[in-house]
């Protein structure tokens, strides 16, 4: 629970709450993942409670990916049917990429010429409906990701992997000389030489593991630093 004193002192420090826990009592409005019982604001989910003005909300720290329209995600082809590809993007539902949404002409009889089962694609979520999720490739930078490796982390840790203004991800790219694409669903594609891919994967997993620690960029820099084997002799 967050006390009156802490609010008065404007300690907007976020507090970890569990479902059913009383967050705050008084004249407040329930926001994301909270509910009101009388004068009490109760948590509906495990996460960090935050009060801004009269508004109380919970910032999730765990859980599966929740698809949103416009998100850029990475997916793996699960199946092919006559009108498109069925793609696993993690989360509660599998997604569909229609043949109409591909950027170039594809022969209906040979869908697997473009992408076959197991291939990795960089996609955008077009619509999220009750029946499922529709994807598109019609946007800048989207398409098939050849080679490399696909790793999965918790989607709530993606902002940390990217860092402020992409600082963290650029650091990893630079130090390991790899090409990295991060999907908002927590799927991360890494392409480079074997050593670099390995190192980058370790770095990403380290960030996901210690997402709550401060000064993480320095720590990762140290982790990636050490001997610079990439120097040209």
């Amino acid at each position: 629970m967050i006390t009156e004193k802490e609010i008065a002192e404007e300690k907007t420090e976020r507090k970890l709450v569990v479902p059913g826990e009383l967050i705050v009592s008084g004249d407040y409005l329930p926001g994301d993942f909270t509910r009101k019982e009388g004068n009490d604001i109760i948590a509906n989910r495990y996460g960090l409670a935050e009060i801004s003005g009269r508004f109380v909300k919970i910032i999730p720290v765990s859980g599966v990916y929740e698809p949103r329209r416009g998100n850029t995600v990475i997916g793996r082809v699960n199946d092919i049917n006559f009108s498109g590809w069925i793609i696993d993007i993690g989360g509660p539902y599998s997604a569909f990429l229609s043949i109409m949404e591909s950027p170039r002409f594809i022969n209906k009889m040979n869908l697997d010429e473009f992408a076959s089962v197991g291939d990795v694609l960089d996609l955008k979520i077009n619509t999220v409906k009750k029946g499922g999720i529709d994807l598109t490739l019609k946007s800048k930078g989207l398409g098939k990701l050849d080679g490399g490796r696909l790793i999965k982390i918790n989607p709530h840790k993606v902002p940390r992997v990217i860092g402020r203004g992409g600082s963290m991800i650029n650091l990893i790219k630079e130090k390991t000389r790899t090409d990295i694409t991060v999907g908002q669903n927590g799927f991360i594609w890494i392409n480079g030489d074997l050593e670099g891919e390995k190192k980058a994967e370790e770095a990403v997993n380290l960030i996901a593991q210690e997402a709550t620690t401060e000064g993480l960029t320095d720590k990762i820099e140290k982790f990636l630093g050490g001997k610079d084997k990439w120097e040209v002799h």
Binding site: L16, V18, P19, G20, E21, F33, I42, N44, R45, Y46, G47, P60, V61, S62, G63, V64, G91, P92, Y93, S94, K130, H156
Partner: protein, 235 residues
């Protein structure tokens, strides 16, 4: 001889030493460990995720699919692996108890898989399993009204005891033993699961319910502490 002192020296309203921790299974979306003394249980939660076969899907809500499993080495005589009549029943009552606190309408047609593994058993395994599952669900970021806590209350001879162990369960002197597992929600204190093995007069049952209420309150404190990052080990 009447039951004046508990076999393991505990007070009548005392729980066994508790262990509680979350995040014990890295590959799961949420996981937890819970132990009453020698009864040690882990639970893993996966999902919400697509449900197959499709005929099990509910168009207006998700479902909870629960699997309670006693590992072969968890008891002194090797348990035959795989589902048994007993474990199927416990899986069902656990799923029912958890369904009443989870918001299943958020992702229709999906499933939340709850795996409960009994690593070591010394009675009260279903209660430890529900406690672990409740923590694991919260840890998996599932939207839920509140947590649940579970405890088994016993009537051993004529005494009401909290957190029954194997020796007490097998006690046969005097009035014998009755085992009543209770599961209560953390906020509204409503009963979401109740079983009774043995017999008990209504008056004593009320006493047992009050004992369950206080015990669940204590257990909830452990669950909350574990979810907030503490590793609890009273052993």
């Amino acid at each position: 001889m009447a039951y004046t002192k508990r076999l393991d020296g505990r007070k009548f309203d005392e729980l066994r030493p508790i262990k509680a921790e979350v995040g014990v299974i890295p590959n799961a979306d949420g996981s937890a460990l819970f132990a009453f003394g020698e009864t040690l249980v882990i639970a893993a939660v996966y999902g919400p995720r697509p449900l197959h076969p499709a005929h099990m899907q509910e168009p207006d809500r998700g479902i909870i699919r629960c699997e309670y499993n006693m590992l072969p080495f968890s008891v002194s005589e090797r348990a035959r692996p795989g589902p048994s009549r007993r474990s199927k029943e416990i899986s069902m009552i656990t799923a029912n108890a958890l369904s009443s606190i989870v918001d299943l309408t958020r992702f229709p047609g999906t499933v939340i898989d709850v795996q409960i593994l009994i690593i070591q058993a010394n009675a009260s395994t279903r209660c430890a399993g529900i406690n672990a599952a409740s923590m694991a669900l919260a840890h998996a970021g599932i939207v839920m009204k509140e947590l649940v806590s579970s405890v088994s209350i016993g009537k051993i001879d004529d005494k009401i005891v909290v957190d029954v162990d194997k020796k007490e369960e097998d006690y046969s002197d005097g009035e014998g033993s009755t085992d009543i597992p209770f599961t209560l929600t953390s906020r509204s204190k409503s009963i979401v699961h109740l079983q009774l093995d043995g017999k008990i007069p209504l008056k004593r049952f009320k006493e047992a319910f009050l004992a369950a209420k206080t015990a669940c309150e204590k257990i909830l404190k452990y669950q909350e502490r574990a979810l907030k990052g503490e590793k609890i080990n009273e052993n």
